[in-house]
Amino acid sequence: MSDNRQPKTAATGASLQSVDTRKQLSAWAANHQLVAVETLIRLLANPLGSLLTWMVIAIALTLPGALWMALDNMEQLSGRFQESGRITLYLLPGTEVEQAQQLERRIQTLDSVSSTELIDADMALDDFRANSGLQAALEFLPENPLPSVILVEPPLGVSQQQLSVLVGKLQNYQLVDSVQLDMAWVERLLAMLALAERLIWVLGLLLALAILLVVGNTIRLAIAARVDEIRVVKLVGGTNAWVRRPFLYTGLWYGMVGGLLAWLMLIICWLLLNGPVSNLADLYGSGFELKPLSATAALSLLLSAMLLGWLGAWWSVSRHLDQIEP
Protein backbone atom coordinates (compact mmCIF):
# COMPACT_ATOMS: atom_id res chain seq x y z
CA MET A 1 0.00 0.00 0.00
CA SER A 2 1.10 3.49 -0.69
CA ASP A 3 1.82 5.71 2.26
CA ASN A 4 1.53 8.91 0.22
CA ARG A 5 4.80 10.14 1.62
CA GLN A 6 5.22 13.83 1.98
CA PRO A 7 8.26 15.31 0.29
CA LYS A 8 11.28 14.71 2.41
CA THR A 9 12.00 17.94 4.15
CA ALA A 10 14.13 16.46 6.87
CA ALA A 11 17.76 15.66 6.32
CA THR A 12 17.94 12.61 4.08
CA GLY A 13 21.68 12.11 3.86
CA ALA A 14 23.19 11.15 0.56
CA SER A 15 21.03 8.15 -0.27
CA LEU A 16 19.75 8.21 -3.83
CA GLN A 17 17.47 5.17 -3.87
CA SER A 18 14.05 6.09 -2.56
CA VAL A 19 11.84 3.07 -3.28
CA ASP A 20 12.91 -0.06 -1.41
CA THR A 21 14.90 -2.72 -3.18
CA ARG A 22 12.40 -5.55 -3.24
CA LYS A 23 9.70 -3.35 -4.71
CA GLN A 24 12.21 -2.09 -7.22
CA LEU A 25 13.15 -5.61 -8.23
CA SER A 26 9.58 -6.67 -8.92
CA ALA A 27 8.95 -3.37 -10.70
CA TRP A 28 12.03 -4.10 -12.77
CA ALA A 29 10.74 -7.53 -13.75
CA ALA A 30 7.31 -6.11 -14.49
CA ASN A 31 8.87 -3.45 -16.68
CA HIS A 32 10.85 -6.06 -18.61
CA GLN A 33 7.66 -7.96 -19.28
CA LEU A 34 5.80 -4.82 -20.26
CA VAL A 35 8.55 -3.59 -22.58
CA ALA A 36 8.96 -7.02 -24.16
CA VAL A 37 5.26 -7.24 -24.97
CA GLU A 38 4.96 -3.59 -26.01
CA THR A 39 7.88 -3.70 -28.41
CA LEU A 40 6.66 -6.96 -29.95
CA ILE A 41 3.20 -5.49 -30.45
CA ARG A 42 4.73 -2.35 -31.88
CA LEU A 43 6.65 -4.42 -34.43
CA LEU A 44 3.79 -6.70 -35.34
CA ALA A 45 1.37 -3.79 -35.59
CA ASN A 46 3.44 -2.35 -38.42
CA PRO A 47 4.72 -5.39 -40.32
CA LEU A 48 5.34 -3.48 -43.54
CA GLY A 49 7.74 -1.13 -41.79
CA SER A 50 9.76 -4.03 -40.43
CA LEU A 51 9.39 -6.38 -43.37
CA LEU A 52 12.58 -5.29 -45.09
CA THR A 53 14.67 -5.86 -41.97
CA TRP A 54 13.01 -9.21 -41.33
CA MET A 55 13.64 -10.36 -44.91
CA VAL A 56 17.28 -9.30 -44.88
CA ILE A 57 17.83 -11.21 -41.65
CA ALA A 58 15.92 -14.22 -42.97
CA ILE A 59 17.89 -14.36 -46.22
CA ALA A 60 21.19 -13.80 -44.47
CA LEU A 61 20.36 -16.80 -42.28
CA THR A 62 18.82 -19.00 -44.97
CA LEU A 63 21.92 -18.95 -47.13
CA PRO A 64 24.35 -20.48 -44.64
CA GLY A 65 21.50 -22.58 -43.24
CA ALA A 66 20.85 -24.17 -46.62
CA LEU A 67 24.53 -24.75 -47.28
CA TRP A 68 24.86 -26.31 -43.88
CA MET A 69 21.91 -28.58 -44.60
CA ALA A 70 23.53 -29.62 -47.89
CA LEU A 71 26.83 -30.27 -46.17
CA ASP A 72 25.17 -32.34 -43.49
CA ASN A 73 23.62 -34.49 -46.19
CA MET A 74 26.89 -34.83 -48.08
CA GLU A 75 28.56 -36.09 -44.93
CA GLN A 76 25.80 -38.62 -44.53
CA LEU A 77 26.39 -39.68 -48.12
CA SER A 78 30.15 -39.98 -47.73
CA GLY A 79 29.53 -42.12 -44.69
CA ARG A 80 27.86 -44.67 -46.95
CA PHE A 81 30.75 -44.73 -49.40
CA GLN A 82 33.12 -45.41 -46.61
CA GLU A 83 31.56 -48.85 -46.17
CA SER A 84 33.22 -49.99 -49.37
CA GLY A 85 36.80 -49.21 -48.28
CA ARG A 86 39.53 -51.68 -49.11
CA ILE A 87 43.29 -51.70 -48.64
CA THR A 88 45.84 -53.13 -51.05
CA LEU A 89 49.30 -54.04 -49.70
CA TYR A 90 52.10 -54.39 -52.25
CA LEU A 91 54.91 -56.51 -50.82
CA LEU A 92 58.60 -56.07 -51.61
CA PRO A 93 59.82 -57.91 -54.76
CA GLY A 94 61.31 -61.26 -53.98
CA THR A 95 59.17 -61.90 -50.92
CA GLU A 96 58.80 -65.63 -50.36
CA VAL A 97 55.30 -67.11 -50.36
CA GLU A 98 55.77 -68.46 -46.81
CA GLN A 99 56.78 -65.01 -45.57
CA ALA A 100 53.75 -63.51 -47.28
CA GLN A 101 51.42 -66.12 -45.73
CA GLN A 102 52.92 -65.45 -42.30
CA LEU A 103 52.33 -61.73 -42.74
CA GLU A 104 48.77 -62.37 -43.85
CA ARG A 105 48.09 -64.35 -40.68
CA ARG A 106 49.49 -61.53 -38.54
CA ILE A 107 47.33 -59.01 -40.31
CA GLN A 108 44.26 -61.14 -39.69
CA THR A 109 44.74 -60.72 -35.95
CA LEU A 110 44.70 -56.91 -36.15
CA ASP A 111 41.74 -54.78 -35.10
CA SER A 112 39.64 -53.31 -37.87
CA VAL A 113 40.36 -56.18 -40.24
CA SER A 114 37.51 -58.43 -41.27
CA SER A 115 39.13 -60.51 -44.04
CA THR A 116 42.29 -60.77 -46.09
CA GLU A 117 43.30 -62.34 -49.34
CA LEU A 118 46.83 -63.15 -50.48
CA ILE A 119 47.67 -63.03 -54.17
CA ASP A 120 51.28 -64.20 -54.40
CA ALA A 121 53.54 -63.14 -57.24
CA ASP A 122 53.16 -66.39 -59.20
CA MET A 123 49.37 -66.29 -59.04
CA ALA A 124 49.48 -62.66 -60.09
CA LEU A 125 51.66 -63.52 -63.07
CA ASP A 126 49.35 -66.34 -64.10
CA ASP A 127 46.41 -64.02 -63.98
CA PHE A 128 48.26 -61.44 -65.93
CA ARG A 129 49.29 -63.97 -68.58
CA ALA A 130 45.75 -65.17 -68.95
CA ASN A 131 44.22 -61.74 -69.19
CA SER A 132 46.72 -59.50 -70.91
CA GLY A 133 47.56 -61.41 -74.07
CA LEU A 134 51.20 -60.55 -73.53
CA GLN A 135 52.11 -64.19 -72.93
CA ALA A 136 54.90 -64.24 -75.55
CA ALA A 137 56.54 -61.12 -74.27
CA LEU A 138 56.49 -62.37 -70.67
CA GLU A 139 58.45 -65.47 -71.66
CA PHE A 140 61.48 -63.27 -72.22
CA LEU A 141 61.55 -61.85 -68.72
CA PRO A 142 64.25 -63.40 -66.56
CA GLU A 143 62.06 -63.25 -63.44
CA ASN A 144 58.56 -62.42 -62.30
CA PRO A 145 58.24 -58.57 -62.21
CA LEU A 146 54.96 -58.58 -60.28
CA PRO A 147 54.85 -58.16 -56.48
CA SER A 148 52.81 -60.28 -54.14
CA VAL A 149 49.69 -58.51 -52.95
CA ILE A 150 47.59 -58.79 -49.80
CA LEU A 151 44.06 -57.41 -49.98
CA VAL A 152 42.75 -56.24 -46.60
CA GLU A 153 39.03 -55.74 -46.05
CA PRO A 154 38.08 -53.63 -43.07
CA PRO A 155 34.72 -54.33 -41.38
CA LEU A 156 31.62 -52.36 -42.38
CA GLY A 157 31.20 -49.01 -40.75
CA VAL A 158 34.80 -48.60 -39.66
CA SER A 159 35.61 -45.00 -38.88
CA GLN A 160 37.96 -42.84 -40.86
CA GLN A 161 40.26 -42.64 -37.87
CA GLN A 162 40.44 -46.38 -37.27
CA LEU A 163 41.17 -46.79 -40.94
CA SER A 164 44.15 -44.47 -40.91
CA VAL A 165 45.50 -46.14 -37.77
CA LEU A 166 45.28 -49.46 -39.61
CA VAL A 167 47.02 -48.08 -42.68
CA GLY A 168 49.79 -46.71 -40.47
CA LYS A 169 50.35 -50.16 -38.92
CA LEU A 170 50.38 -51.89 -42.25
CA GLN A 171 52.93 -49.48 -43.65
CA ASN A 172 55.32 -50.33 -40.83
CA TYR A 173 55.69 -54.02 -41.77
CA GLN A 174 59.11 -54.64 -43.26
CA LEU A 175 57.82 -56.73 -46.13
CA VAL A 176 55.41 -54.06 -47.24
CA ASP A 177 56.49 -51.92 -50.13
CA SER A 178 53.48 -49.66 -50.38
CA VAL A 179 49.90 -49.41 -49.14
CA GLN A 180 47.07 -48.22 -51.29
CA LEU A 181 43.79 -47.20 -49.74
CA ASP A 182 40.95 -47.48 -52.21
CA MET A 183 39.29 -44.94 -49.95
CA ALA A 184 41.61 -42.18 -50.99
CA TRP A 185 38.92 -40.48 -53.00
CA VAL A 186 36.51 -40.61 -50.07
CA GLU A 187 39.21 -39.00 -48.02
CA ARG A 188 39.52 -36.29 -50.62
CA LEU A 189 35.79 -35.82 -50.56
CA LEU A 190 35.88 -35.50 -46.79
CA ALA A 191 38.69 -32.98 -47.02
CA MET A 192 36.64 -30.99 -49.47
CA LEU A 193 33.64 -31.17 -47.18
CA ALA A 194 35.79 -29.90 -44.33
CA LEU A 195 36.88 -27.05 -46.55
CA ALA A 196 33.26 -26.38 -47.49
CA GLU A 197 32.35 -26.35 -43.82
CA ARG A 198 35.07 -23.80 -43.17
CA LEU A 199 33.80 -21.69 -46.05
CA ILE A 200 30.27 -21.84 -44.68
CA TRP A 201 31.59 -20.61 -41.36
CA VAL A 202 33.33 -17.70 -43.03
CA LEU A 203 30.22 -16.92 -45.06
CA GLY A 204 28.12 -17.26 -41.93
CA LEU A 205 30.34 -14.82 -40.05
CA LEU A 206 30.13 -12.29 -42.87
CA LEU A 207 26.37 -12.62 -43.01
CA ALA A 208 26.18 -12.35 -39.21
CA LEU A 209 28.05 -9.08 -39.56
CA ALA A 210 25.52 -8.02 -42.18
CA ILE A 211 22.70 -8.81 -39.75
CA LEU A 212 24.39 -6.75 -37.05
CA LEU A 213 24.66 -3.82 -39.44
CA VAL A 214 21.08 -4.10 -40.66
CA VAL A 215 19.59 -4.37 -37.17
CA GLY A 216 21.94 -1.66 -35.95
CA ASN A 217 20.80 0.67 -38.68
CA THR A 218 17.13 -0.11 -38.11
CA ILE A 219 17.55 0.60 -34.41
CA ARG A 220 19.43 3.79 -35.20
CA LEU A 221 16.40 4.99 -37.15
CA ALA A 222 14.10 3.94 -34.31
CA ILE A 223 16.24 5.92 -31.88
CA ALA A 224 16.18 8.96 -34.16
CA ALA A 225 12.39 8.76 -34.29
CA ARG A 226 12.17 8.76 -30.51
CA VAL A 227 14.73 11.38 -29.57
CA ASP A 228 12.14 13.57 -27.83
CA GLU A 229 10.92 10.70 -25.73
CA ILE A 230 14.46 9.74 -24.77
CA ARG A 231 15.22 13.32 -23.71
CA VAL A 232 12.13 13.48 -21.52
CA VAL A 233 12.81 10.06 -20.01
CA LYS A 234 16.36 11.08 -19.11
CA LEU A 235 15.09 14.38 -17.74
CA VAL A 236 12.72 12.71 -15.30
CA GLY A 237 15.34 10.25 -14.09
CA GLY A 238 15.28 7.34 -16.52
CA THR A 239 18.46 5.26 -16.26
CA ASN A 240 20.42 4.27 -19.34
CA ALA A 241 19.22 0.72 -18.86
CA TRP A 242 15.63 1.90 -18.92
CA VAL A 243 16.20 3.90 -22.09
CA ARG A 244 18.05 1.04 -23.76
CA ARG A 245 15.54 -1.65 -22.86
CA PRO A 246 12.88 -1.15 -25.55
CA PHE A 247 15.52 -0.96 -28.27
CA LEU A 248 17.24 -4.12 -27.09
CA TYR A 249 13.94 -5.98 -27.06
CA THR A 250 13.14 -4.62 -30.51
CA GLY A 251 16.47 -6.02 -31.76
CA LEU A 252 15.68 -9.34 -30.11
CA TRP A 253 12.29 -9.52 -31.83
CA TYR A 254 13.76 -8.56 -35.19
CA GLY A 255 16.16 -11.47 -34.81
CA MET A 256 13.40 -13.82 -33.73
CA VAL A 257 11.05 -13.03 -36.59
CA GLY A 258 13.95 -13.13 -39.06
CA GLY A 259 15.04 -16.48 -37.63
CA LEU A 260 11.53 -17.94 -37.88
CA LEU A 261 11.27 -16.77 -41.49
CA ALA A 262 14.64 -18.35 -42.24
CA TRP A 263 13.46 -21.60 -40.71
CA LEU A 264 10.35 -21.47 -42.86
CA MET A 265 12.43 -20.85 -45.97
CA LEU A 266 14.69 -23.78 -45.16
CA ILE A 267 11.66 -26.03 -44.76
CA ILE A 268 10.40 -24.85 -48.12
CA CYS A 269 13.83 -25.54 -49.67
CA TRP A 270 13.74 -29.03 -48.24
CA LEU A 271 10.20 -29.67 -49.51
CA LEU A 272 11.20 -28.49 -52.98
CA LEU A 273 14.35 -30.64 -53.13
CA ASN A 274 13.30 -33.76 -51.27
CA GLY A 275 11.20 -35.23 -54.11
CA PRO A 276 13.78 -34.84 -56.90
CA VAL A 277 16.62 -36.05 -54.68
CA SER A 278 14.91 -39.27 -53.65
CA ASN A 279 13.94 -39.89 -57.29
CA LEU A 280 17.57 -39.54 -58.23
CA ALA A 281 18.65 -41.78 -55.37
CA ASP A 282 16.13 -44.43 -56.47
CA LEU A 283 17.59 -44.37 -59.98
CA TYR A 284 20.97 -45.21 -58.45
CA GLY A 285 19.40 -47.85 -56.26
CA SER A 286 20.27 -45.95 -53.13
CA GLY A 287 17.95 -45.39 -50.21
CA PHE A 288 19.38 -41.93 -49.72
CA GLU A 289 16.95 -39.31 -48.46
CA LEU A 290 17.45 -35.60 -47.96
CA LYS A 291 17.51 -34.91 -44.23
CA PRO A 292 15.70 -31.76 -43.11
CA LEU A 293 17.35 -29.37 -40.65
CA SER A 294 17.43 -31.08 -37.25
CA ALA A 295 15.46 -29.54 -34.41
CA THR A 296 18.69 -28.66 -32.60
CA ALA A 297 20.09 -26.96 -35.66
CA ALA A 298 16.85 -25.05 -36.22
CA LEU A 299 16.75 -24.00 -32.60
CA SER A 300 20.34 -22.80 -32.61
CA LEU A 301 19.59 -20.94 -35.84
CA LEU A 302 16.71 -19.19 -34.09
CA LEU A 303 18.71 -18.45 -30.95
CA SER A 304 21.66 -17.08 -32.85
CA ALA A 305 19.29 -14.90 -34.87
CA MET A 306 17.89 -13.49 -31.63
CA LEU A 307 21.37 -13.02 -30.21
CA LEU A 308 22.47 -11.22 -33.38
CA GLY A 309 19.42 -8.95 -33.28
CA TRP A 310 20.09 -8.14 -29.66
CA LEU A 311 23.79 -7.49 -30.31
CA GLY A 312 23.01 -5.28 -33.30
CA ALA A 313 20.62 -3.26 -31.17
CA TRP A 314 23.16 -3.06 -28.35
CA TRP A 315 25.82 -1.84 -30.74
CA SER A 316 23.56 0.83 -32.15
CA VAL A 317 22.20 1.90 -28.80
CA SER A 318 25.61 2.24 -27.20
CA ARG A 319 26.74 4.37 -30.14
CA HIS A 320 23.77 6.70 -30.28
CA LEU A 321 21.98 6.79 -26.96
CA ASP A 322 24.62 8.43 -24.83
CA GLN A 323 24.72 11.36 -27.22
CA ILE A 324 21.10 12.17 -26.49
CA GLU A 325 21.03 14.30 -23.37
CA PRO A 326 18.19 16.50 -22.17
Partner: protein
Protein backbone atom coordinates in the same frame (compact mmCIF):
# COMPACT_ATOMS: atom_id res chain seq x y z
CA UNK B 1 18.72 31.21 8.81
CA UNK B 2 20.60 28.16 7.53
CA UNK B 3 19.84 24.75 8.97
CA UNK B 4 23.31 23.60 8.05
CA UNK B 5 21.83 21.13 5.57
CA UNK B 6 20.39 23.25 2.77
CA UNK B 7 18.47 21.77 -0.14
CA UNK B 8 20.72 23.53 -2.66
CA UNK B 9 24.14 25.03 -2.21
CA UNK B 10 26.29 26.74 -4.84
CA UNK B 11 29.88 27.33 -3.81
CA UNK B 12 31.72 29.85 -6.06
CA UNK B 13 30.36 28.23 -9.20
CA UNK B 14 31.50 29.41 -12.61
CA UNK B 15 30.35 28.08 -15.93
CA UNK B 16 32.00 28.76 -19.22
CA UNK B 17 30.50 27.16 -22.30
CA UNK B 18 33.03 25.82 -24.76
CA UNK B 19 34.07 28.71 -26.97
CA UNK B 20 31.74 31.10 -25.19
CA UNK B 21 32.00 33.73 -22.53
CA UNK B 22 31.37 33.00 -18.88
CA UNK B 23 27.65 32.32 -18.34
CA UNK B 24 28.06 32.22 -14.55
CA UNK B 25 30.92 33.68 -12.52
CA UNK B 26 31.57 32.86 -8.90
CA UNK B 27 27.96 32.20 -7.95
CA UNK B 28 27.36 31.24 -4.30
CA UNK B 29 24.02 30.86 -2.56
CA UNK B 30 21.95 28.43 -0.52
CA UNK B 31 18.32 27.41 -0.69
CA UNK B 32 16.93 26.04 2.54
CA UNK B 33 14.58 23.12 2.61
CA UNK B 34 11.05 24.30 1.96
CA UNK B 35 12.18 27.69 0.71
CA UNK B 36 10.55 29.49 -2.21
CA UNK B 37 12.70 31.77 -4.38
CA UNK B 38 12.61 33.52 -7.72
CA UNK B 39 15.55 33.70 -10.08
CA UNK B 40 15.47 36.79 -12.28
CA UNK B 41 17.80 38.63 -14.62
CA UNK B 42 18.07 39.87 -18.17
CA UNK B 43 18.03 37.52 -21.10
CA UNK B 44 21.36 35.72 -21.25
CA UNK B 45 22.10 36.42 -17.59
CA UNK B 46 22.57 32.70 -16.89
CA UNK B 47 19.26 31.67 -15.31
CA UNK B 48 18.75 28.53 -17.38
CA UNK B 49 22.40 27.63 -16.97
CA UNK B 50 22.06 27.79 -13.20
CA UNK B 51 19.05 25.46 -13.24
CA UNK B 52 20.77 23.06 -15.63
CA UNK B 53 23.74 22.75 -13.30
CA UNK B 54 21.43 21.39 -10.60
CA UNK B 55 20.03 18.82 -13.01
CA UNK B 56 23.50 17.74 -14.18
CA UNK B 57 22.47 18.80 -17.66
CA UNK B 58 25.55 21.01 -17.58
CA UNK B 59 28.67 20.82 -15.45
CA UNK B 60 30.39 23.73 -13.68
CA UNK B 61 33.79 24.85 -14.92
CA UNK B 62 34.75 25.81 -11.38
CA UNK B 63 33.17 25.55 -7.95
CA UNK B 64 30.82 22.99 -6.44
CA UNK B 65 27.09 22.37 -6.53
CA UNK B 66 25.28 20.46 -3.77
CA UNK B 67 21.71 19.20 -4.03
CA UNK B 68 20.13 17.51 -1.02
CA UNK B 69 23.56 17.04 0.50
CA UNK B 70 25.03 15.44 -2.62
CA UNK B 71 28.16 16.90 -4.13
CA UNK B 72 27.23 16.78 -7.81
CA UNK B 73 30.87 16.93 -8.86
CA UNK B 74 31.41 13.55 -7.19
CA UNK B 75 28.34 11.88 -8.68
CA UNK B 76 29.00 8.90 -10.93
CA UNK B 77 27.22 8.90 -14.28
CA UNK B 78 25.04 6.05 -13.11
CA UNK B 79 23.77 8.10 -10.17
CA UNK B 80 22.58 11.05 -12.24
CA UNK B 81 19.13 9.53 -12.94
CA UNK B 82 18.56 9.14 -9.20
CA UNK B 83 19.52 12.78 -8.65
CA UNK B 84 17.02 13.79 -11.31
CA UNK B 85 14.26 11.84 -9.58
CA UNK B 86 14.67 14.18 -6.62
CA UNK B 87 14.10 17.21 -8.78
CA UNK B 88 10.89 18.14 -10.55
CA UNK B 89 11.50 20.41 -13.53
CA UNK B 90 9.12 22.53 -15.55
CA UNK B 91 10.29 24.15 -18.74
CA UNK B 92 8.65 26.79 -20.85
CA UNK B 93 8.42 24.36 -23.75
CA UNK B 94 6.75 21.88 -21.42
CA UNK B 95 8.42 18.90 -23.14
CA UNK B 96 5.30 16.77 -23.23
CA UNK B 97 5.09 13.69 -25.43
CA UNK B 98 2.31 13.92 -27.97
CA UNK B 99 2.28 10.23 -28.81
CA UNK B 100 0.53 9.37 -25.56
CA UNK B 101 -2.24 10.54 -23.27
CA UNK B 102 -2.02 13.12 -20.50
CA UNK B 103 -2.16 10.23 -18.05
CA UNK B 104 0.81 8.45 -19.61
CA UNK B 105 2.81 11.67 -19.73
CA UNK B 106 2.34 12.24 -16.05
CA UNK B 107 2.84 8.59 -15.10
CA UNK B 108 6.23 8.40 -16.86
CA UNK B 109 8.39 9.43 -13.86
CA UNK B 110 6.49 6.93 -11.71
CA UNK B 111 7.00 4.05 -14.15
CA UNK B 112 10.68 4.91 -14.24
CA UNK B 113 10.91 5.00 -10.46
CA UNK B 114 9.24 1.58 -10.29
CA UNK B 115 5.77 2.29 -8.89
CA UNK B 116 3.06 -0.29 -9.39
CA UNK B 117 0.31 0.76 -11.82
CA UNK B 118 -2.21 1.04 -8.97
CA UNK B 119 0.05 3.25 -6.91
CA UNK B 120 0.94 5.29 -9.98
CA UNK B 121 -2.76 5.74 -10.81
CA UNK B 122 -3.47 7.20 -7.40
CA UNK B 123 -0.57 9.62 -7.62
CA UNK B 124 -1.33 10.68 -11.17
CA UNK B 125 -4.90 11.54 -10.19
CA UNK B 126 -3.70 13.40 -7.13
CA UNK B 127 -1.27 15.40 -9.29
CA UNK B 128 -3.95 16.11 -11.89
CA UNK B 129 -6.26 17.25 -9.14
CA UNK B 130 -3.65 19.61 -7.73
CA UNK B 131 -3.24 21.34 -11.11
CA UNK B 132 -6.99 21.38 -11.73
CA UNK B 133 -7.03 19.00 -14.67
CA UNK B 134 -8.89 16.06 -13.18
CA UNK B 135 -10.88 14.31 -15.89
CA UNK B 136 -8.44 15.17 -18.67
CA UNK B 137 -6.20 12.13 -18.26
CA UNK B 138 -7.38 10.36 -21.41
CA UNK B 139 -6.88 13.39 -23.66
CA UNK B 140 -3.83 13.85 -25.83
CA UNK B 141 -1.81 16.85 -24.65
CA UNK B 142 -1.87 18.25 -28.17
CA UNK B 143 -5.59 18.92 -27.77
CA UNK B 144 -4.96 21.13 -24.72
CA UNK B 145 -4.39 24.87 -24.53
CA UNK B 146 -0.96 26.30 -23.72
CA UNK B 147 -1.90 26.87 -20.11
CA UNK B 148 -3.31 23.39 -19.76
CA UNK B 149 -0.20 21.86 -21.30
CA UNK B 150 1.90 23.88 -18.87
CA UNK B 151 -0.12 22.46 -16.01
CA UNK B 152 0.33 18.92 -17.31
CA UNK B 153 4.07 19.63 -17.28
CA UNK B 154 3.81 20.79 -13.68
CA UNK B 155 1.80 17.71 -12.72
CA UNK B 156 4.52 15.54 -14.23
CA UNK B 157 7.18 17.48 -12.32
CA UNK B 158 5.49 16.99 -8.95
CA UNK B 159 3.91 13.56 -9.35
CA UNK B 160 6.90 11.81 -7.84
CA UNK B 161 6.79 14.25 -4.88
CA UNK B 162 10.32 15.51 -5.41
CA UNK B 163 11.79 17.58 -2.57
CA UNK B 164 13.01 20.18 -5.08
CA UNK B 165 11.02 21.86 -7.83
CA UNK B 166 12.70 23.93 -10.54
CA UNK B 167 10.85 25.94 -13.15
CA UNK B 168 12.34 27.80 -16.11
CA UNK B 169 9.98 30.51 -17.37
CA UNK B 170 6.90 28.48 -16.48
CA UNK B 171 4.60 31.39 -17.35
CA UNK B 172 6.50 32.42 -20.46
CA UNK B 173 3.66 32.99 -22.89
CA UNK B 174 0.65 32.78 -20.64
CA UNK B 175 -1.71 35.65 -19.94
CA UNK B 176 -1.34 37.44 -16.55
CA UNK B 177 -4.32 35.70 -15.01
CA UNK B 178 -3.06 32.24 -15.89
CA UNK B 179 0.46 33.20 -14.80
CA UNK B 180 -0.83 34.20 -11.38
CA UNK B 181 -2.74 30.94 -11.17
CA UNK B 182 0.34 28.89 -11.95
CA UNK B 183 2.44 30.82 -9.45
CA UNK B 184 -0.21 30.08 -6.84
CA UNK B 185 0.16 26.44 -7.71
CA UNK B 186 3.88 26.59 -7.04
CA UNK B 187 3.32 28.32 -3.73
CA UNK B 188 0.93 25.55 -2.71
CA UNK B 189 3.72 23.03 -3.29
CA UNK B 190 5.98 25.09 -1.07
CA UNK B 191 3.33 24.92 1.63
CA UNK B 192 3.64 21.12 1.71
CA UNK B 193 7.39 21.39 2.13
CA UNK B 194 8.80 21.42 -1.38
CA UNK B 195 11.77 23.67 -2.10
CA UNK B 196 10.89 25.81 -5.13
CA UNK B 197 13.08 27.88 -7.45
CA UNK B 198 11.48 29.68 -10.38
CA UNK B 199 13.39 31.47 -13.13
CA UNK B 200 11.26 34.16 -14.68
CA UNK B 201 11.24 37.46 -16.58
CA UNK B 202 7.97 38.53 -15.04
CA UNK B 203 9.30 41.16 -12.64
CA UNK B 204 5.85 42.61 -11.94
CA UNK B 205 4.55 39.26 -10.79
CA UNK B 206 7.64 38.57 -8.71
CA UNK B 207 7.36 41.91 -6.94
CA UNK B 208 3.71 41.42 -6.24
CA UNK B 209 4.21 37.94 -4.78
CA UNK B 210 7.09 39.02 -2.61
CA UNK B 211 9.45 36.12 -2.08
CA UNK B 212 13.18 35.78 -1.95
CA UNK B 213 14.79 36.93 -5.20
CA UNK B 214 18.09 35.81 -6.69
CA UNK B 215 19.09 38.28 -9.37
CA UNK B 216 21.61 37.32 -12.03
CA UNK B 217 23.43 40.02 -13.96
CA UNK B 218 25.87 38.89 -16.62
CA UNK B 219 26.54 35.72 -14.72
CA UNK B 220 27.00 37.40 -11.33
CA UNK B 221 24.55 36.83 -8.52
CA UNK B 222 23.05 39.75 -6.61
CA UNK B 223 20.78 38.66 -3.85
CA UNK B 224 17.88 41.00 -3.33
CA UNK B 225 17.50 41.50 0.39
CA UNK B 226 14.51 43.80 0.22
CA UNK B 227 11.65 41.37 0.22
CA UNK B 228 8.10 42.29 0.96
CA UNK B 229 7.69 39.35 3.33
CA UNK B 230 10.63 40.70 5.32
CA UNK B 231 12.03 37.23 6.04
CA UNK B 232 15.45 37.91 4.62
CA UNK B 233 16.87 41.19 5.74
Amino acid sequence: MSTGNPMVRFDRVSKRYPGGKEALSGVSFELDRGEFAFLTGHSGAGKSTLLKLMMQMEHPSRGQVFVDGLNLGKLRAGQVPYLRRKIGVVFQNHQLLFDRSVYDNIALPLQIAGYTPAEAGRRVRAALDSVGLLGMEKRNPIELSGGEQQRVGIARAVVNKPPLLLADEPTGNLDPELSAEIMNLFMRFQQVGVTVLIATHDIALVERLGHRRLILDHGQLHEDALIAGGQYV
